[in-house]
Symmetry: C3
Subunit: 380 residues, 3 copies
C-alpha cells in the first residue's frame, strides 16, 4: 500500500487506486460596459468534479474509469483499457486523441487556469477509439482511430445529434522527440489530425472561445455554425525545462473543409515562460506532457509548498476568407501555490485584446477585456 | 486500516475512506379524497444514493467528494477541501452554510425521516463558498460567504436559470454553546443568514413544503412565486441529551424582501422529545450536531440493535400580509431500528393539520392529512 | 486483502470492494438498402459504464451500490441491502426481479453480446422492491414484490411519467432445480410474473426490439404503443454444463391485458450450444445463473487466456390477434476471448430474419439483416 492522495494498493503485478478531482472557480470578466452582456462580470462555478479509479489487472493490462461532473451533467472522461508490452502501449476506449501538448497535459498540471484558446476553439475533446503508442528513449509515436465523443454517440435519441446516425471518424497521430541535453529537458512535437464528419456535416460546426475563464458562457469571438464535412488540423510543439524555469510554445492550424465554399484556415498558438519561486521546485515532464512534481518543501514538512509563476501569450485567429470569426491576443499572468502535493490554488490575470469580436452598439469590434480568475483544485 | 462500514485507510497523517449511502422509501399520504390529487396516496422511491470518498492529505488538509443521485439526476453534495489548524477549520467548496441544527444534522442521523418543514420551505441547500469555523471547548463559531448551489451555477445554459448570469451571494453565521452539566449535554445555538439574490430577483422564489414525505410532489401549502431581492433569516436552537433521552427545539424566521411590496415574515420550528428503548444506547452529539452512535448490542453481537422513538411537533406558517401560503401543524411519531451500525429502518406516522392549504372543491382550506412513511437507509 | 480486479478488503465478517465496468461496442447492421434507415450501418458507443462498491457490514448484512452510465445519463443498477441467514437471503432495494436465466446472468458473463430478444421486448428491468430467496442444495426459490424502476419512480416531475403518480406493482417468483448428475451440471427453472400497471395504463406500453446490437436505435419489429393494465408473463429454463461444453434454452410468454380489447400473447425464446476451445476452461454456474470462471491459462501465466464459441437461435414473435408487431428468427455465432480474468473481447455475427417487420418501399415486410458486433468489456 503506497499513497498518492488516496491509497495505492499493489499486489504482484496488480494495482488499484481511487481517483478524485475537485476544481472550483471564482472569476471576474470586465469588458466594455456597452456590451451589456450579463454573462460577463462575476461568476463562480464547480469547474470539474471527477470520481473514479485506475488499476492494473496484471499481464500488462490496466484500466482507468472516471466520471466527470461539469455543469451538472455527467461526462465520461478517461475510460479505457490499456495493454502494455515493452515499448508498446495500446489504449482502447474513451480517451484524448493525440492532440496538442497543452490539451494532453492534465488540467490540474497546467501553468494557467484554462488551456490555450485554440484547444477549445478547434473542438479538441475525448473520443471513443483505439490508440497505439510506441515510446523508446526520447521518442514517442502515437497514432489512433476514433469515432466521436461518448456523449455524441449515445443513442438515447435518434438522428445525428442523438448519436444513432453519427458515422464520423478520425485519424490522429503525434510525434515527440524529447532529448535531455545537459540539465535541460527539451520537447519537440508535431501532431496531425484528419476527421471525416460524415452525417454530422448536416449539423453546424462552430469554432469559438470564451473570454479566457470558463465561468462565463459568453463568446466574444467565434464563427457562425458552418457545414463542415472534413477537418484537417496539425500543429507543432516546442518546450524546454531547466531547473526552476521552463518555456513552451505551440502553433496549430485548423482547416475545415466546408460542404460548399472553399476550405478555411484558422490559426492558434501560444508562447509561455515560467519559473518556480520556491527553492528546489521544478516543473515535471513525463511521457511527452507536463506533470506536477511534489513540492520540495511542503506545508507540514517545514516549508510553505511551491509557488510558480508563468506569463503566456495566447493567440487565436478565426478570420479567413468570407468568415469573420474574430481575432484574439491574450496576455496571461498566472500564479500557482501548491501547499502540499495534490492541492493547488491559482490566481490568474488576463488581458484579452479582441478584433472582429461581438460588436459594441457603436459598431466597434476591437476592444479589450480584463479577466481575473481564481481556482482551488484537488487531484489525486 | 480501520473499518467504518468501508475500510478506513490511515498512513501517518493521511487517511482515505470510500463513502456510500442508500435510502429508499415507501410511503402513503391519506388526504381528503375530494382533493383528487393523484400525487398523494402510495409512493415509493430511491430517496438518496451517494457515492464518494473522503480523506486527509496531511499537513491539516483534507477533502470530501460525494455524488448524489436523487430523482434520477446527479447532484453534488459535500464536495470541498478543508484546512484544519488548532481550533480553526476552513472549508472551501460545495457545502452546507451554517443553517439550523436540523439541517446540519445528517439525513441518516435524524430521529424522523424528513427534516423540519421550515428547512425545505425556506430553501436551505448546499452552496459553493468558503466557511471558517472556530471550535474550542463548548464554543463553536461558524461564518461563511457563499454564492449559490452548484446546479444553479452550472453554465450549461445561458440566463439566470442557467447559472451564467447568477450573481447571488450570502453571508451565513452560527454560534453554538454546548456545555456539559453533570451527565447532560446541552446545546444552545443561533444562526443568521443574509442573502442578496441579485439577478435571481427576476425569477420567482417559492416557499412551500411537501406533505411530510418526499415521495409525493404535491405541495398542500406554499406561496406563489415571489420576486425577492434579499432574504434575511435567523433562528435559535436548544437541545439536551441525557442517557437514553433527548429533547430538541428550534424556531426560525425567514424575512424575504420583495422587489415590490413590504418585507414578509414567515415562521417555522419544531419541538421534539425522544428516547432509546434499548439499554445502553444513546443519541450521539458531536461538533454542534447530532450524530449516530453505534448500537450498544448490535445483531451478531448478542443483541437486536438499537431502537429509538421520537415525538415531534413541526410548525410552519407561510401566511403574512398579502401572502396566504398556508399554515401547517405536524404531529410526528417516529421509530428507528438500527440492527447494526450504518444500517437503519424507519417507520414514521405523521398527522399534518393544515390551514389555508390548497382548497377542496367545497372551498374548505383547513383539513388533515395522515401520512405513513417507511425507509431503509445504509450510510458508511 | 484479496484481489478481484480491485482489492477485496476483509476484516472479521466485514468486507468491501470497489466495483467497475466498461463495455464499448463497434458494430455494423446491414439491412436491405431500400429501408434507407440511417440508424443502421456502422455504430459505436460506450455500452455500459459502472462504478460502485459492494461490501458486508457483518451480522449477515451486506450491500451493493452501483451507478451506471449508458447513453450519457445516470442509471442506478444494483443498489440494495441484503440480509443472509442460513439458507435465506433478503434483498431490499433496486434489483432485478427474478426474471429469466438470460436476464439474470450478468452482461459480462454472457456467451453472446446481447441478451435474448424477448428480454428487452418484454421490458425486463431492475425495479425497487424486496425479494426473498431460499437456497438449499440444488433448490432455489425466489419471490418478490416490486414497484417500478428507480427512474420511473423519481419525482422530479409530476404525472405518471414523472413518477409522482406511478402506482404500479408486481409479484415475481422463480424456481430453480439444479442437480449435478455425474460431471454434468443441470439447470431446470421456471419463473412467473404478474404486474398491475395502475395509472401507467394511461401511457403506452411498447413491445419491440433492436436489430440485435444496441448501437442502433432502429426497431425493425415492434408493436405500436398499447394501453395495458396488467401483464402476466412466465417462462421455462433448461441448461446443462459438462466440461468445456454447455447448452441452454428458454421459452417465455408475455400476456399483456389491454384496457380495451382481448389479452395478447407474445412469445420469445432461444436455444444455444457452446464450448470453450482452450483446454481446461469451463463456463461457470453458481446460484442459478451463469458466471465467468477465470481462464485456466491466462496471459502472463504462460497461456493466451480462454476462447469460447457459441451458436444461438433467438426467437421472438410479437404477432397476435389484431396486433402485428413482427416476428424475428435470429441466428447468432459468438466468439469471446478472455486474455485474463475480468477482461473479455467479443466478436458476434447475427443473421436476423424478419417477418411483418418495418415495410420496405416495395411493401415487402419479410427480409434479412446481417449484423456484426464487436465489444471489449472490463468488469471487476
Amino acid at each position: 500500500i503506497g499513497w498518492k492522495g488516496s491509497p495505492q494498493f499493489t499486489q504482484d503485478d496488480k494495482a488499484f487506486k481511487v481517483k478524485g478531482r475537485i476544481q472550483a472557480d471564482a472569476s471576474y470578466v470586465s469588458a466594455p460596459g456597452a456590451l451589456q452582456d450579463r454573462g460577463l462580470g462575476f461568476s463562480s462555478e464547480m469547474r470539474r468534479i471527477r470520481l473514479g479509479g485506475e488499476g492494473s489487472l496484471g499481464a500488462g493490462f490496466g484500466y482507468k474509469l472516471e466520471l466527470e461532473l461539469s455543469d451538472n451533467s455527467v461526462d465520461l472522461v478517461d475510460t479505457f483499457v490499456t495493454y502494455r508490452k515493452g515499448s508498446w502501449l495500446v489504449q482502447l476506449g474513451n480517451q484524448n486523441p493525440a492532440w496538442s501538448l497543452d490539451e494532453l497535459t492534465g488540467d490540474t498540471s497546467g501553468s494557467v487556469m484554462e488551456r490555450a484558446a485554440f484547444t477549445d476553439a478547434f473542438n479538441f475533446e475525448r473520443r471513443l477509439g483505439v490508440q497505439v503508442q510506441y515510446a523508446k528513449g526520447p521518442i514517442i509515436v502515437q497514432g489512433g482511430v476514433f469515432t466521436d465523443s461518448i456523449g455524441d454517440l449515445a443513442n438515447s435519441s435518434d438522428g445525428v445529434k442523438g448519436g444513432d446516425e453519427n458515422n464520423s471518424y478520425s485519424f490522429d497521430g503525434r510525434l515527440v522527440y524529447a532529448p535531455k541535453w545537459g540539465n535541460t529537458q527539451f520537447h519537440f512535437g508535431a501532431s496531425a489530425h484528419w476527421r471525416r464528419l460524415g452525417r454530422l456535416d448536416e449539423s453546424a460546426t462552430q469554432y469559438r472561445q470564451r473570454p479566457y475563464i470558463h465561468g462565463s458562457n459568453t463568446r466574444l469571438i467565434g464563427t457562425a455554425g458552418l457545414k463542415v464535412d472534413t477537418e484537417l488540423n496539425y500543429g507543432v510543439e516546442v518546450a524546454a525545462l531547466s531547473g526552476p524555469f521552463w518555456g513552451v510554445g505551440e502553433f496549430h492550424v485548423m482547416r475545415p473543409n466546408r460542404v460548399t465554399g472553399p476550405t478555411l484556415n484558422f490559426r492558434g498558438g501560444y508562447a509561455e515562460v515560467g519559473a518556480f519561486l520556491t527553492s528546489g521546485d521544478t516543473r515535471g515532464y513525463k511521457g511527452g506532457i507536463f506533470v506536477n512534481n511534489a513540492p520540495a518543501h511542503p506545508m507540514g514538512g517545514g516549508g510553505m509548498g511551491s509557488i510558480q509563476v508563468a506569463l503566456r501569450y495566447d493567440y487565436l485567429d478565426l478570420d479567413d476568407r468570407d468568415i469573420v470569426g474574430g481575432k484574439q491576443n491574450g496576455y496571461i499572468a498566472a500564479l500557482v501555490w501548491s501547499p502540499i502535493q495534490y492541492l493547488r490554488f491559482n490566481v490568474n490575470y488576463a488581458l484579452m485584446s479582441y478584433d472582429n469580436a461581438v460588436a459594441l452598439p457603436s459598431g466597434k469590434r476591437s476592444y479589450d477585456a480584463n479577466v481575473v480568475g481564481t481556482r482551488f483544485e484537488l487531484d489525486f
